[in-house]
């Protein structure tokens, strides 16, 4: 599966558009991460636990989007966009969407 956030893929042409596909997840931070983050907030630096939380959320949301794309028979997803929203304090939603398409190598 080819995934890009551009409208086109170099060396390929879109032969069929399957439509919008999306995936989302809402994940909570755990308590231990909160304590570490509280400490980091005094001295500065990267909040690795939160970076990981974002990565995990992104992986899970992408997985769901790609599953939907393959269910539709697509072999690529183009124009992928991410968006996050705060559901409550302590939990964040990560939403990813794109357009599922069928591409083939362009003749030249």
């Amino acid at each position: 599966m080819i995934v890009v956030n551009t409208e086109k893929i170099p060396g390929h042409q879109v032969v069929e558009v399957k439509g919008l596909v999306q995936g989302n997840t809402v994940r909570a931070k755990n308590f231990g991460r909160d304590i570490a983050a509280g400490f980091k907030n005094m001295v500065g630096g990267e909040l690795k636990g939160y970076t990981e939380l974002l990565s995990e959320s992104r992986d899970q949301a992408m997985e769901r989007m790609l599953a939907e794309a393959s269910r539709l028979g697509a072999n690529a997803v183009v124009n992928v966009r991410f968006s996050t929203s705060a559901v409550t304090a302590g939990a964040a939603e990560l939403y990813v969407y794109g357009t599922a398409v069928v591409v083939q190598p362009s003749e030249r």
């Binding site: 630096g45 909040l47 974002l54 705060a86």
Partner: protein, 158 residues
């Protein structure tokens, strides 16, 4: 009893000192680290346009994503609080957000290079909200959370 009182009065000062000294050290280290890594990745061509400039049709393309969450320190937060009284640019936060942006972009480039690509296009940098903390409420953490994405591709050899 008086000991406790003194501690209670001194605690914010100690936190301020810790924030000022350790925070400044952490920031300096990060800046020199950024500079070193940016110099190594200078050859990667980056645009935020959705077009593959000089793209190799046989080279393929893939989505690259990176995340970064950087915390403020006690001193920066305190300085921002003072700035909030009179208004104006909060410099202590500008240096923090700038570092976060540079780090996010660097991680995109590093990932692209690891995967064997030499160019990035359609770069997008968005602020992410981790648990409602970005829009800081009283007592919340002060931090910058970024989610960056781009499409990596290969350029034609000349």
């Amino acid at each position: 009893m008086t000991g406790l009182l003194i501690l209670w009065l001194l605690a914010p000062l100690l936190l301020l000192a810790a924030g000022l000294f350790i925070g400044t050290l952490v920031e300096r280290r990060h800046l020199s680290d950024l500079q070193r890594r940016e110099a190594q990745l200078d050859s990667i061509f980056v645009t935020d346009v959705g077009d593959f400039f000089a793209g190799d049709p046989a080279g393929g393309a893939t989505l690259i994503v990176s995340e970064v969450v950087i915390a403020s320190d006690y001193f920066k937060t305190f300085a921002a609080g003072l700035r909030g009284l009179i208004g104006g640019e909060i410099r202590s936060y500008v240096s923090m957000t700038t570092r976060a942006h540079r780090e996010a972009l660097l991680r995109l480039k590093e990932q692209a290079q690891r995967d064997g690509y030499d160019a990035l296009c359609n770069v997008r940098l968005d602020s992410a909200d981790v648990g409602g903390n970005v829009h800081n409420k009283k007592g919340g953490l002060v931090m910058v959370a970024l989610l960056a994405s781009a499409t990596a591709y290969r350029r034609r050899r000349r």
